[in-house]
């Protein structure tokens, strides 16, 4: 270990993404900042419309549609990806940074063999012969646990089950040994037993290949087991970020409390009723004033509708940041009383 701190693999700085629409400007991502270290796993948790997917896609320049307004910095290995042109980005995409998507049945082309699609991904970034790429593809399919990869390489996507398709997508993502893998809801479309297999696979690949992972999900349970750190997003912003243990055991933000409390548990006493978060997620066109969470927060004070809280590190734990206007002592007391 050197004494000089190594720069992180990825640093996202004050990222903003806005989409002008007929109804007004959608502020999908409203100033988020985070870092991912080499070989680390960051979990980004949020509900639909929290901006988590847009934030992840923007890292790879996948939201550069006409009219989208993007600002901030996405620094990967010292280079600001937002400043790169499409060609330069293309060389990074699928090569140094890869992405896997939620729905494995729509992410593969139905008319091409699975193997051919992975061969294409290999040859897009490596100058190798077809035969060599095919050999590599078979190796990759084996790595992600497809049985008999030498035969299955010539199957079409419909001959694969949902779990196998997601494995094939992961194989494709790994084709060029990326240093960063962005996984957007990688297990949401899968059954629980298959989900466990895919999560274990990602964990194993991270350990073996040393890549960093950003895993985007609505299911805090998925990241509870995998992530080193968790960022909770609400209405386009990160409202709390901490090491996984800390976030699950000493959460500070009332929204995080709500998320944890509203999920039924597999053990412990059965509750008479769950404690839902009241109301519904806000509009990103016209988000609430002040603290975006205040209309749904049971501890909101009148001035919380006016003051917009910043995401600030806690005085006694700089690795734990929270954007909440309640006094720290007050928050701790409220959480401890409720546990």
């Amino acid at each position: 270990m050197s004494t000089v701190e190594e720069p992180p693999l990825l640093r996202v700085e004050d990222l903003r993404v806005e989409f002008p629409t007929e109804d007004g400007v959608v502020k999908a991502v409203d100033g988020i900042t985070y870092e991912v270290g080499r070989g680390r796993t960051l979990g980004i948790v949020g509900e639909s419309g929290s901006g988590k997917t847009v934030a992840a896609m923007t890292v790879l320049g996948l939201t550069r549609v006409q009219g989208a307004r993007i600002s901030g910095r996405v620094v990967f290995e010292g280079v600001d990806l937002l400043g790169l042109d499409e060609g330069a980005l293309q060389r990074i995409r699928g090569n140094e940074i890869a992405m896997i998507f939620q729905d494995p049945s729509t992410a593969l082309h139905p008319l091409y063999k699975v193997g051919a699609q992975i061969v294409e991904a290999v040859r897009a970034h490596q100058d190798v012969t077809k035969a060599a790429a095919r050999k590599r593809t078979i190796e990759l399919l084996g790595l992600v646990g497809i049985p008999d990869p030498g035969t299955r390489v010539d199957d079409y996507p419909h001959e694969f089950s949902g779990g196998m398709r997601q494995r094939a997508m992961i194989a494709m993502a790994l084709a060029n040994e990326p240093r960063l893998l962005i996984a957007d809801e990688p297990t949401t479309a899968l059954d629980v037993t298959v989900q466990a297999q895919i999560l274990a696979l990602l964990e194993r690949l991270r350990a073996e290949l040393g890549m960093a992972i950003v895993i985007v999900t609505h299911d805090i349970g998925v990241v509870a087991e995998m992530a080193d750190e968790i960022a909770v997003m609400y209405a386009g912003r990160i409202v709390e970020m901490a090491a996984t243990e800390t976030l699950l055991n000493r959460p500070e933000h009332p929204y995080t409390w709500g998320l944890l409390r509203s999920i039924p548990k597999l053990d412990g006493p059965r509750l008479e009723r769950l404690e839902p978060i009241k109301g519904s997620p806000p509009s990103l066109i016209d988000p609430p004033s002040g603290c975006h969470f205040h209309p749904r927060c049971e501890y909101a004070q009148p001035d919380h509708a006016r003051i917009d809280p910043e995401l600030l590190p806690l005085p006694d734990d700089p690795s734990h940041s929270v954007a909440c206007l309640l006094e720290p002592q007050m928050r701790r007391k409220l959480w401890e009383e409720s546990v």
């Binding site: 059954d191 299911d219 349970g221 996984t244 039924p264 059965r270 769950l274």
Partner: protein, 275 residues
Amino acid sequence: MSATEPLMEVRDIEKHFPLTRGIVLARRAGAVKAVDGVSFDVLRGETLGIVGETGCGKSTTARLMVRLLEPTAGTVRFEGEDITRLRGGRLKAVRRELQMVFQDPYSSLNPRKTVGSIVAEPFAIHGLHTERAERREQVKGLMDRVGLNPEHYNRYPHEFSGGQRQRIGVARALALGPKLLIADEPVSALDVSIQAQVLNLLRELQRDMGLTLVLISHDLSVVRHMCDRVAVMYAGKIVELAENEALYSEPSHPYTRELLAAVPGARSDRRTITG
């Protein structure tokens, strides 16, 4: 009819969907055994959970129970009456007692009808509350009951959020005062913070209205929270049926154990969620 008699008895039901080859002269080339000999009782006032993974036959079972599908073999008895082969008026009468809430609140509501007319449709079908003002009052009462603002009577589904739409689906299912409500994945399309609202609503309704509830879900923690007894389905069969506590503390079938072990982050003996 005694109170201890089951509300519904399902015996050896099977549903096979034929697979055919050829377009003009279709020949039978086998069958998908979606439900392959399933038997269980639904007791009065209980919440019965049916869990399983995609393709295990749980939704087909639900549809057989309300006779949206006709079984290939076996019988379904409701309050002692065999409803498996009912037709016409008698089937329509039984349907009043058996209602269903569907998974996707976006596709299960007609986008071109107002909420008022969606909730009132069961009345129209069954010729109830034909007087306009009375029908409106009934609908408003139902909307209020499920936590919707009755003044939103004239709004369209797109003006509501996912959780509110699912409440509309529940109001429609309750319109005819059913005895048995079957909810097929009622919260899986909803955001986590909204799921708890809908689950609480179902529990309240069940308690206050004396409903019997069958909850179909792939989510083991939701089923644990809601249900008195749980049936685990695998490949068209029930592999285990047990009281809630027993199933979760001492699962006896290896498949149940595998299912429980696969749920990420939900047990507090691992690195986990507290609260």
